[in-house]
Each structure stands twice: as C-alpha cells, then as structure tokens.
C-alpha cells in the first residue's frame, strides 16, 4: 500500500508540474485556474454523498441531494477540460499550454479519484 501512496503522490506532483509549466513557460497564469477547478471537482460529491442514504435504501439508489452533487461534480469536471480549450481557441494561451494544462488537470483529478477508490474500503471496515 505504501508503493501505491508513493506512486499517487508522484503522479499528483507531475500533474501540478505540468500545469505550472504551462503557465510559466508562456508567462500567462490563466491556466492555473484549471488546477483549482480539478481540485474542487470532487468536493460536491463528497459533501452530498452523506445525504439521502438512510437505513432502508442501498448506496446505489439515487436521491435528490446525491444527484445534485453528481450534477455539480460533472459540471466542474467538464469546466476544467473546456476552459483551456476556450482560452486556446481565442488565442489567449498557446495551444501547447492548453494541452499541458489539460493533461496535468487530468492527472490531478485521476489521482484524487483513484486515491478515493483505493482507500474507501478501510473506512467502511471501521
């Protein structure tokens, strides 16, 4: 399990490195918002996940608040991918900076998702 933690932290560092490089190489710090977006993406799901599930319903069954959390999470993730694309389309940032920030953001979000998936079972046993 320690190897998984080291690997995940390494991937997270690479993701942030890519995003910061995409800003610093062209001295345009707008793509840094992508990092903020992807860090905030799992937050609505985490907040609303505790709502709506009671003793009589299973986890897979949806409820209103849980659906709202998933909806906002999906919106934020799509925002993180669309924002650099739009900046590149309007020629505000370089296309290479767009690609680097998207890849970096994907790595950061993938790290958060896989971390949550890998360590969920331990909290359930408690």
């Amino acid at each position: 399990m320690a190897a998984a933690v080291i690997l995940l932290s390494f991937v997270l560092a690479v993701g942030f490195l890519l995003i910061i490089l995409s800003c610093a190489l062209w001295a345009n710090w707008l793509p840094l918002l992508v990092a903020l977006t992807f860090v905030l993406a799992p937050l609505p799901n985490a907040i609303f996940a505790r709502c709506g599930s009671d003793d009589f319903s299973t986890d897979s069954e949806g409820s209103g608040p849980a659906d709202l959390g998933r909806f906002i999470t999906s919106m934020v993730v799509i925002t993180g991918f669309a924002f650099p694309l739009i900046l590149a389309h309007a020629e505000i940032i370089h296309p290479a900076a767009c690609a680097m920030s998207i890849i970096g953001g994907g790595l950061v979000y993938g790290t958060i998702l896989s971390y949550a998936a890998a360590f969920r079972h331990e909290s359930d046993e408690f």
Partner: protein, 186 residues
Amino acid sequence: MSLPRSNYDPRRVCLNPFPNLDFHLGKYRRTIGVYIAGGLFALAHWLFLDAAVLSSHYHPPPDAPYDSAPVHVTFVDWVPGILSALGFLVVNLIDKDRIKGEEAYADARAVWRARLFLFIGFALMAGGLAGSVTILVLKYVVPSYPERFTYYGYANVSQNIAIMLSAVTLWVAQSVPSDYEYSLSI
C-alpha cells in the same frame, strides 16, 4: 384522428411516453445519466462562452485602420441561454411523483399546479431555443457575415440544444424505477 382510450393510463404525463431505455448499465444507470446531464449542461454554457470570448478577443488584421469586426456578441445573445437555464431549473425543481398524480398526492389542484409549472418550464426552454434560432437568422445569417462571425450564432443554437438534451437526460435518468420501489409495487 381518434386515439384508443382503452389502455390510457391517467398517471401518464405525455401522450407518447418516454422510451424505457435499457442500456444494460444495471444499478448505475441513474448515476451515469445524472453525470451525462451535468456534463451536457456545462458543455452548453462553455460553447456559448467560447463564442463570447472569441468576440471579445477578436484581433483585427494588422493593416486594418480600425476595429474591423462587423458584429460582436452583445447582451441579446445571452438572453436565450438565460431563458433555457431558467426553464431547466423550473422543470427539475418539480416533484416527479406529484405530476403523475398518484394516490399519495390526491390533491387535484396540486397536480394541476405542478403540471402548469412543468408547462412553463418547457415553454421557457422551447422559447430559448426558438430565440437562439431567431438571433442566428436575424443577426448573423441575413446580413451574410463571414463564417467566423456566424459561428457566434451557431454556438448559441448549440448551447440551447445541449441544455434541452441535458434536461431530457436528467428526466429519463431520474424516472427510472429503482429496484427497491419496484419490489414494493409488485
């Protein structure tokens, strides 16, 4: 044309019901539907914001003596998207069980009011779509601007279509009966 009345279900909302989509996704069908709906909703607004940012950062050719853009994205272009988003909100704030008029909610006036608000929501979304097509035709196509400017109008229409698709996806995903309710109704 007269429709047969024998198998008419009074709980039904539409005369032609939504198809019962079965993608063999199992118990995650509702979750995936909600995720797709949220993605479509965000995509819709980014499509339009793309056009707005393009219009705001339009670079004239270097030999042009002044700002040579013949048309810009103004507040008029924002109105259909605002209407569609309002309609999306109204449609999704309505309790689905109340529209069906089931026995638990026997108050006929409440059912009537819920259906009225459902109609207002769908009318807002349809009005947004029609308004975006109107803006595309009247503002961009009729003056025959070059293609990079008519893109603003097409982005507006795509935004409203995507919001409608998002509402339909969310509706279908949320009206899937879960296994728990299914076992109760048997």
